[in-house]
Subunit: 353 residues, 3 copies
């Protein structure tokens, strides 16, 4: 059980390409799930536990659109209802496993662990540029981080760390003293800063052919509980006068969709969308190599912090100005968890009824 994650929310389950006619097991919010695709191509997700002797269903066989348990052959349809018990005719009414609403978007299968009636796909993060003309999307990795997902979310509401953590890729020291600005939204936060008239960061220096200094921006758009899209880019110093004209520079959306595996592990499903080198697969790979360096720098720090948080509950923390957005993020998630409780009676009925 992941006490810190709201259940009435969409979470990335895995890349769409991983959901096939072979049974696979994934873990989300502390629950193991068996995942597969029907003969018609629809993704299916059930609890990965046979209610007879608790064998994982993912050890069984996919038969048509149903799953046969590998221990005694109990068989469940894609809606979770038992359709066969070998050796007996009567199928008890309670012989079923929970199933979960899914939706595919941006190359990911998304799962709604909460009340099925509330599963509205329009609530999934929407990035119009993902499949718009003039833009190119490239899927990255599923990066496992041994940390609570909210510590990763902290990081994704926090442009300030870039100046210290990512000096070889995404940041440089020019930004150290520049404060961050933020807007609070009902379900998220937007945090940003511009670093003007400074040397380009290593990553853009490779693609921009900039002759001198640049203006550089970071806009961190976080939507609770698990989506963060970082709009960052650069243009010749002074070239962009209206911040809304960022398309005139080199612009990248780095998308992070977080799966809370349990309270101490999360997976960062990351991809990027860019407005340059659209048909150049080589640029995909070179950018991803840089992202891997940067995101592994985050992983290393977050995993160490996770250990310290558990061993040193005595340390009294100091709050800084840059913490306004991460603190707001945590208030939003806490509110969503509380709202879960309010709808849980209805949810219990929906799942078991």
């Amino acid at each position: 059980m992941t006490a810190t994650a709201p259940r009435n929310a969409w979470y990335p389950l895995t890349w769409s390409r991983n959901v096939t006619r072979k049974l696979a097991s994934h873990r989300v919010l502390g629950s193991d799930l068996v995942v597969y695709r029907t003969e018609a191509g629809e993704p299916v997700c059930l609890d990965d536990v046979c209610p007879h002797r608790l064998a994982p269903l993912s050890m069984g066989k996919l038969k048509g659109d149903a799953v046969e348990c590998g221990y005694h052959g109990m068989t469940f349809g894609s809606d979770g209802r038992c359709i066969r018990i070998p050796g007996q005719q009567l199928i008890p009414a309670n012989a079923k496993v929970p199933s979960y609403p899914l939706h595919e978007k941006m190359g990911l299968v998304w799962i709604w662990p909460g009340e099925p009636d509330m599963a509205d796909p329009s609530l999934i993060y929407d990035l119009p540029q993902y499949d718009a003309p003039g833009w190119h999307a490239a899927h990255g990795d599923a990066l496992r981080i041994d940390a609570n997902y909210l510590n990763l979310a902290d990081n994704l509401c926090d442009p300030a760390h870039v100046s210290f953590v990512h000096l070889s890729t995404l940041g440089n020291s020019a930004s150290e003293e520049i404060p961050v600005e933020h807007n609070f939204k009902d379900k998220g936060v937007l945090v940003w800063r511009w670093i003007r008239d400074a040397a380009p960061i290593p990553l853009f220096a490779k693609y921009g052919n900039f002759r001198g200094n640049v203006d550089r921006w970071h806009y961190y758009d976080y939507v609770a509980p698990c989506s963060a899209v970082i709009d960052f880019g650069s243009a010749d110093a002074g070239a962009i006068t209206d911040p809304e004209d960022r398309d005139q520079g080199l612009r990248i959306f780095a998308c992070h969709f977080i799966t809370p595996v349990d309270d101490h592990v999360c997976i960062d499903h990351w991809l990027h969308v860019r407005n340059f080198a659209l048909d150049d697969a080589d640029v995909d790979q070179r950018l991803h190599a840089d992202f891997r360096i940067a995101f592994n720098e985050d992983k290393e720090i977050l995993e160490r912090i996770e250990v310290v948080e558990r061993s040193r509950p005595d340390v009294r923390r100091i709050r800084l100005g840059i913490d306004a957005a991460p603190q707001r993020m945590r208030r939003i998630v806490e509110r969503m968890v509380a709202e879960d409780g309010e709808s849980s009676a209805a949810q219990a009925t929906a799942v078991s009824g």
Copy 2:
């Protein structure tokens, strides 16, 4: 401590061949034990803990029939009483370690962890065919399974799983829909079914030279808490009219004697006894190769179930018709554990007095 295992019972400690003039350590019911053989050839089992500083006695030396601790030289006889303390003359009356009744049978050393006065060797499982003319016994392995021993006992009261778990060796789909029958006894259960006029299973097809379909039987004879002997075999369809004439077919007793190591680990000491190819060591090896495949299939499922049982206490289980015998088995073991409590005052006196 293994809360689920009665102490007043015989358990396999290890194969007789492993008990030698070299100190060895084995773990049974959560206790570490030092095991060796006296100069006269008698097996000895003491707690593997020196009561001085808690060093394992198995790190010490065997001197004659006594064990000398490797830290300060305290020495204990085969009855557990201290016979020497280097540097001091007086040996305190309480200077001793618990010793346990042992008995050798069927190539195994058996231990009685409970009240010594109750240790009656006639209570150990008896299979007359083990050393009878016309039969051949072959010792198998000590298979470690990371699961509570009762989950393995479940499996050994349960012919139904064979149709799904062991398709390449012991089962085939012909038996899927055939219900199981059972007899309840005071200290065990007998569960069986016949699959008539069906293709032979892979294992017997190799040895039987059957021309067509066969009648096949499985009799699972479980005696609480740790012994299960599976009588299975095949004969030409219709050839055996009285079920008691099973010797007329190919017949194997697959014996499983379980050691509960602790609450989450057990060891399946398995061997087999058969009425064909009596002097053919090659058949021993070929049958054991098949058994290893089959028993590892059980191991894999049982170890996964062990993990799920701990992580998902919330799952409400569904009981099926095939569960009657396993449920009875658990009631018998619970009764034996309760009876332990009734005799524990006497036992405490016997062990420490």
Copy 3:
């Protein structure tokens, strides 16, 4: 937190040679510490936790004499006070990390985890021979032992174990039955015995050119909580008439300075000081090779005991005559822990004030 270790005491932190201009992390009494040397060469030790987001400071950068956190650049001086917060002017008064008094002696950096005002370097164990003429000191290893440090301290108040544990190096069976003698001091114990007119032990046989039997001594000088110096040596049988004339024989001080890492791990920083082969680095290495064999024999037993102590709280221990000194040692340490409590109000003020 190590409940069994007094805080108002000096402990070895690490060898002096390991404290450099590179940030290093060491763990003492359950706390992670960042350790480095200032530009002027003074050793510094701070809590290895940034109070902002709990990143380990040892992942950051050493900038002059200050440490910059690797996550958001908070920077702390060698006294632990924050001197910079990137992006904001105001530094909160409570922005600091605990720092600890250090002192260098005998090639080690020593730390005082308790009340800083009580940190008197004269309390560190003093061995005049360490740098006296006619003596030679050689630093050994930092041997990690997965055991509570008091179980190692037991061993270092205990000459009797040598006859059983170290037969290939430091002991032989001649000493088995010779009782040990002891003096109790306010902060420690002295335990000794002489083995007279016996064959030399393997280690001294290599260096002594003894023609026949020798008189051999062991004096174990333990000072709570973490220092033990073992004075041992040999001379021709009958050659030394006054025990105070031990310098006339081959004499070695084997020094053990113990770091309690946490309740279940300690590090034995060992070195030796001798009165023979003063300028022979080859003898350093040969003696250390023997010591490594012997101390690893202790490590093996102590690590096994640590496991048994945790799994068998039920075993009632037997106390022997040789246990008088170890028992006294534990009473002294318990008294020091209790005295910590009496000074803790003052300490809390000193650390956080």
